[in-house]
């Protein structure tokens, strides 16, 4: 019982997630800065930001619904923290059930919904526009994201994240042709994740120069800190999910070394995310929806089609 609780709350649960989220934010900002020929933040900066936000006054505007305004950030936080329990960090995740891929995918949708709802609750022009943009964005990346997660699940015939991550490397070694659909789906997954995390080029919902901070405009102090923290943690969860589903989780190590391969792989994905962020400008919401449905969705369908064709071709 104590060990279970420690696993959930400390390692590889909440505390680890928090620490790694801080590290990932630092790495992301540092890489972004170095690629732009800047110095970048100190290692302690993300933690200092959170501490600062938590110690600041929380202002609740008169126009908002105070109850909803207060509890929304915790919903995002809880959803992200829960979804981390299903992801393999060590040899096996803290908990694993059949169909947890679907559970994680849905839990990861909650922060976006909470964001758009908080925009509506704030009831100011910037936050309402931000909230609308959040939702319209959701419809353009969510379907390709789910479809790309579906590709490896179809290959292995299971909805269990742990089984997928354990089974995928062996399958690809046995039949190298399967690298094709996985590569296509991984590409779609990474781009859709960029949209999910509201990073460039898809940071449309909190476009600074247009609508200040979008849904966050009215948030301050601790509530904003929790939002920021849950978004940082969402990045880790999203990246870990991609690693587990497409890159074989902790393969090839096991036991204590498993964490090493997990860290190496997640940092690799974080690097790709930072690279995309550096190389592009923010696109417009209509361009994003066009891109989501005209490029990403067909690409993810192509991945599934490849799997189906390979299955029918009798390679498996």
């Amino acid at each position: 019982m104590v060990i279970e609780l420690a696993k959930i709350l400390v390692f590889p649960g909440l505390v680890f997630l928090f620490a790694y989220a801080m590290f990932a934010q630092w790495l992301d900002r540092k890489l972004y800065a170095r690629m732009q020929n800047r110095v970048g933040p100190r290692f302690i900066q993300p933690l200092a930001d959170i501490v600062k936000l938590f110690s600041k006054e929380t202002i609740i505007p008169k126009s908002v619904d105070p109850v909803l305004f207060r509890i929304l950030p915790y919903f995002a936080f809880a959803a992200v923290a829960t979804s981390f329990l299903f992801l393999p960090i060590m040899d096996s995740p803290i908990t694993s059930i059949d169909g947890d891929l679907v559970i994680v995918a849905y839990l990861l949708t909650i922060p976006t919904l909470v964001l758009s709802l908080s925009g509506w609750v704030s009831a100011t022009p910037y936050s309402i526009i931000g909230g609308i943009r959040c939702l319209s964005q959701l419809f353009s990346y969510e379907v390709p994201y789910f479809l790309s997660l579906l590709t490896p699940a179809l290959m292995l015939g299971t909805w269990n994240i742990n089984e997928i991550s354990k089974g995928l490397p062996g399958m690809i070694v046995a039949h190298p042709i399967y690298i094709l659909p996985v590569a296509v789906a991984f590409m779609v997954g990474i781009i859709a994740l960029q949209g999910k995390l509201e990073r460039k080029p898809f940071d449309i919902a909190d476009a600074e120069t247009e609508i200040v901070a979008g849904p966050f405009t009215e948030y301050s102090g601790r509530l904003f800190g929790i939002f920021r923290l849950s978004l940082d943690m969402e990045m880790i969860v999203g990246v870990s999910l991609l690693v587990a589903v497409f890159l074989g989780g902790v393969y090839p190590f096991s036991g204590a070394l498993a964490i090493v391969s997990y860290l190496v792989k997640t940092i690799f994905v974080l690097f790709i995310l930072a690279y995309i962020k550096t190389a592009v400008a923010r696109i417009k919401i209509n361009q994003m929806i066009d891109f989501g449905w005209m490029v990403l969705a067909p690409l993810s369908l192509l991945g599934i089609l490849l799997v189906v064709l390979l299955h029918m071709g009798g390679i498996l």
């Binding site: 732009q36 910037y126 592009v280 400008a281």
Partner: protein, 393 residues
């Protein structure tokens, strides 16, 4: 969302570098009406000029703009020299061209960075501002200052260009040229950048003409105007250069014009340095200026800047009037904003390279219901309020 919604932007907003106010009426994300209010940054510089001597005013008008400071000081010096009927030495004319064009390079690189930032392309912002440091350093080497150069004086310039300074400038220009070509490449080829600027903020040629747009805003819509060529001042009459225009009319057109002008400015500086005549750099001028009036025009990086000066025979001018290029361009902004989306607001506003505190010549106080509070005051009262010795209540 067929309902109409009001989106206020400013006076404080991350989009704006200086205070101004926009009121947008939206239908969903589409802008159906736009209202621009100026007057948050009136500093009374024209009035302050009347309180000071000509030489002091030279440094006063330099502080109208933090970016194109040389524009205003040259304009003032030219107008005063015109009243005095003084011909400045040839070398001074060339030196003014060199500093003026270096300033154009710095202003356009700054704009490119701001434009990148407005559309969320922070990498372009960081890199173009990094390379802008080169030209800032060159300006510091030549004039001694990075922003307000204090390089002009009535009757010429204050500092000569030495051999080492010329060598350093030539070296710096080489790096600048390479980097500007790279930025030109990014601005015309990077997909997400093109997606944000092509077809956005369209300003037809007729509208540009009827709304009196100037500078890159007009040239980006195919209006072929440039004071440097049409009414040469300083040494521009002797220097060959091309006026860059684009027929696109959108923000991309204005970007192409600005990047092209940066490359052209590098060539002008090179030519001016190679053909720098020898001789003195100042002409002797009297302290008191005989009665008369003059009008000076200057092609600033943002467009044509105009300065009118009237002298009354004393040490202080009787009247100074400055029209900054932003005022001429602001009228076209409303036209370009209509029927665009919220996401286009930052880049369309930034596309004229607004310099609002240079523009403001008045303050308007709005009442609670938003209507302007008007009050009639006579000349004596206005003068009393403008006196620097008596602070405003």
């Amino acid at each position: 969302m067929s309902e109409r919604m009001i989106l206020p932007i400013g006076p404080q907003h991350p989009l704006l570098k200086e205070p101004t106010h926009f009121k947008f009426t939206l239908e969903g994300e589409k802008i159906v009406d736009a209202d621009i209010r100026l007057g948050y940054n009136h500093r009374g510089i024209e009035k302050a000029c009347e309180e000071r001597t000509y030489l002091q005013d030279l440094y006063m008008v330099e502080r109208i703009c933090g970016i194109c400071s040389f524009v205003h000081s040259t304009n003032f010096a030219q107008a005063t020299e015109d009243i005095l009927k003084v011909e400045i030495p040839q070398r001074a004319k060339y030196l003014r061209v060199i500093v003026g064009e270096l300033e154009r390079i710095h202003s356009h690189l700054l704009w490119l960075g701001v434009a990148g930032h407005e559309i969320g392309f922070d990498t372009l912002f960081m890199l173009s501002w990094r390379d802008r440091e080169i030209v800032q350093d060159l300006l510091e080497i030549i004039t001694g200052n990075r922003v307000n150069y204090s390089f002009n004086t009535i009757g010429g310039v204050r500092k000569d260009l030495s051999k080492e300074e010329i060598d350093q400038t030539i070296k710096g220009l080489k790096v600048l040229e390479e980097q500007t070509k790279y930025f030109a490449d990014v601005a015309t080829k990077e997909t997400t950048f093109i997606g944000r600027v092509a077809g956005v903020g369209y300003l037809p040629k007729e509208v540009a003409l009827s709304h009196c747009a100037v500078g890159p805003t007009a040239r980006g819509s195919g209006v072929d105007i440039d004071v440097r060529r049409d009414l040469p001042y300083a040494a521009y009459g002797e220097i060959p250069f091309n006026v860059i225009t684009s027929d696109r009319g959108d923000v991309l057109g204005r970007t192409i014009v600005r990047v092209g002008e940066t490359l052209e400015a590098i060539n002008i500086v090179r030519y001016a340095i190679e053909h720098l005549p020898s001789g003195p750099i100042t002409a002797k001028v009297p302290r008191k200026v005989q009665p008369g009036e003059a009008f000076s025009r200057y092609e600033a990086p943002r467009g044509e800047a105009v300065l009118y000066a009237r002298a009354n025979g004393t040490e202080k001018p009787d009247r100074i009037k400055v029209r900054a290029p932003t005022l001429a361009n602001l009228a076209s902004v409303r036209h370009t904003l209509l029927n665009q989306t919220v996401a286009d607001i930052p880049i369309i506003v930034a596309a004229i390279d607004p310099c609002l505190s240079c523009t403001d010549r008045t303050s308007v106080i709005l009442k609670q219901d938003g209507s302007p509070k008007t009050e009639e005051i006579d000349w004596a009262e206005l003068r009393k309020r403008s006196l620097i010795s008596k602070p405003l209540k």
